[in-house]
Amino acid sequence: MREPMIEPDVMRISWGPQHPMSGQTRVLLDVDGEKVHRIIADLGFTHRGIEKILENRSFFSGIIPVDRMAMVDTANMSIGYVTAIEKAAGLEVPERAKWIRTLVCEMSRINSHLYAFGLQAESTGYFPAVFLWTTVDREVLLDLFEELTGARWSFNHFFPGGVHHDLPDGFADKVLKAVKYLRGRFKDYWDAMVENPLFENRCDGVAILKPKDALKLGATGPVLRGSGIDIDMRREEPYDAYGDLEWEVITEDACDVMARTKVRYHEIGQALNIMEQIAQSIPDGPVKGRVNAFMRVPEGEYISRVEAGRGELGFHLFTNGTGNPYRVKINSPTLRNMYVFERLAELNEVFVADIPVIINSIDPWYLDSDR
């Protein structure tokens, strides 16, 4: 990236990529003392060319790199690509497979939000206690993933036309047990974060993103809903079993870092509700239809939009009648939210100490923005 000119009387800090909190990105901060005048995000450190890789792979094997776009949120990444392929090929998915997908997606969402939660606590300077609590609680979900799919991370469970494995015996009871356990744990998070006066000090009124700006800058996911805008792809364009389940879209009106944290908190509650409903009333039936792994897809353009943990994930699929996609354009939530992050210093008074708090309220996953 060509660095923009630096103004007089400010110091430019290269915040990352070698920094305890930056992740795989570089953020240039123009600071005057503690005040941040300008934020410049420099993405692309983890570019792997996933869009190009997908062009050289069949529709089935393309799911594997797509899975690796966001390791904590694997299921929600692959569901987007799988849905796009199903639209293109006109495949019907059995009802039970849809419900299993929804279950795995919601578990993945909790997994992702727990990680965001832990980092949010850590970024305010918490001793890493809360971060490790969330890590330990994620184990519950990872064990469930392992039992269902055989892998704890990037399990590559979905394919166009179904899922690879049916629920094992007694899995529904284990899901209910996990839901009960996580509900019990969530009071601790509420106390440690939302109810903690020092945490409130750090998060209330920081990095306010007005609804108008959120829409204009293209914010998505919890960032958008934390600004009070009621948009959730699971409800706007229901995919899988979301249309059949009872849940609600969470919004908060405070528009600040705390609002985004609360949105994630309540979304985990909703995800637990969904998990419970699925475990109690999943329909019987097959989990995969008859699908040719080397299928050819008719020529055309197809779009799928799904709600991943970090926001709306879009796949724009161009096909040319062969067994590979002609071009796949991925619209990733982190990239959209990073544009918002860059503008927050202009919209608010931001201090150096707020940078980790803000960047983790956006919950970036640079592997999905860099693709």
Binding site: M11, I13, G33, E34, T124, F127, A129, A192, A353
Partner: protein, 360 residues
């Protein structure tokens, strides 16, 4: 205690050259030890080297092992049994072995010298603390309270200098955070200490402790007690106030460029500061070494009571580390100037009123 006895005894033995021979050395050593056993114990053991190093080792071990429980971990588990007692030594050895990386284009004499001063200056202040009425290593009489604050006033300069000498942007910001934090945090503490000195009628720490025989100053000066308790966190840069080293914001604040044993010194200094301010807090507000005399040994029981109070408080303070996020710099300055300083003045006012009315 007469600090001259240490030197005069040695000199007296050495000057008598006609008696000096190799055969006499053991008897000279025994004589020297007999003459100077108390100052030697003080220098090597109690307020001195053994206590400072031993506390640093204990505190690091305790922090790792018990805060690990708060994080649902087990902490050091293999080195030195399941309690992990030897892990601290292993890590310290590692720090000794590591290469000291000194960046180019920095002021290297300053950069290397500062970490050494960093732990010696608070240790110097620690020697002023009375462990019993006759167990004070550095007895400066009525100067002891001002001397403590004078020495501790130098302490924040060292991070500022080392942050400047590091020639690093993070170190630079961290150094100025140190400056802002100490100015806004230390002034209320001095005012609180003035309140204690007025109430005790002396600036001699021994007399301050003896004035608390009937009632700890924590009771009449409750505001000062709370402020000074906060002060321990501010001065030793512990969690709600670890603003200068905030590792998620500035990589490691003013310590960013330090590596190897120089980094070890900076960590050590944190614990020495913590130790010195906690002991001062106990001396000023929690009755110092006062306590019931056990088994007819007043000195030993006084030392025991001070250490007992110290370790209870230390455990409490360390456990508080895992429940607070960090304050922001502007919030810290606001806390210092808007709340702590006026409250400290209010406390001082109450003390003066009580003194005039003759309540205390």
């Amino acid at each position: 205690m007469n600090s001259n006895s240490l030197i005069s005894g040695t000199l007296a033995n050495l000057v008598q050259a006609d008696q000096f021979s190799l055969m006499n050395i053991p008897s000279m050593v025994i004589e020297f030890l007999a003459l100077n056993s108390k100052p030697l114990l003080q220098v090597l053991l109690l307020p001195g080297l053994g206590f400072i190093l031993g506390f640093a080792i204990f505190a690091v071990w305790f922090e790792r092992k018990f805060l690990a429980r708060a994080m649902l971990r087990v902490g050091p588990y293999y080195c030195g049994g399941r309690a992990g007692v030897l892990q601290v030594f292993a890590d310290f050895l590692k720090l000794f072995m590591k290469e000291i990386i000194i960046p180019t284009a920095i002021d290297w004499p300053f950069f290397v010298a500062m970490p050494v001063f960093l732990s010696t200056i608070p240790s110097l202040a620690l020697l002023l603390i009375p462990f019993a009425s006759n167990w004070v290593l550095w007895d400066v009489g009525s100067l002891s309270l001002p001397m403590f604050f004078a020495i501790m006033g130098i302490a924040p300069l060292i991070p500022i200098f080392s942050g400047w000498a590091s020639n690093n942007k993070y170190s630079f910001i961290g150094a100025w955070r140190v400056a802002y934090m100490y100015i806004s945090g230390e002034i209320p503490l001095v005012i609180c200490a003035a309140g204690v000195a007025i109430m005790a009628g002396s600036m001699d720490l021994v007399k301050i402790v003896e004035a608390q025989q009937n009632m700890w100053f924590a009771v009449p000066q409750f505001i000062g007690f709370i402020l000074f308790f906060l002060g321990i966190f501010i001065e030793s840069e512990r969690t709600p106030f670890d603003i200068p080293v905030a590792e998620v914001e500035l990589v490691f604040g003013w310590r960013t460029e330090y590596s190897g044993i120089l980094f070890g010194f900076t960590m050590m200094a944190e614990y020495v500061l913590f130790q010195a301010w906690t002991l001062m807090f106990i001396t000023l507000y929690l009755g110092g070494f006062n306590g019931p005399v056990l088994m007819g040994m007043p000195t030993a029981s006084h030392i025991f009571w001070l250490l007992a109070k110290f370790f209870v408080l230390v455990v409490f303070i360390i456990l508080l580390r895992c429940v607070f996020p960090r304050l922001r710099m502007d919030q810290m300055i606001k806390l210092g100037w808007k709340y702590m300083t006026p409250l400290a003045l209010l406390n001082l006012f109450f003390v003066i009123v009580m003194k005039i009315l003759g309540v205390v």
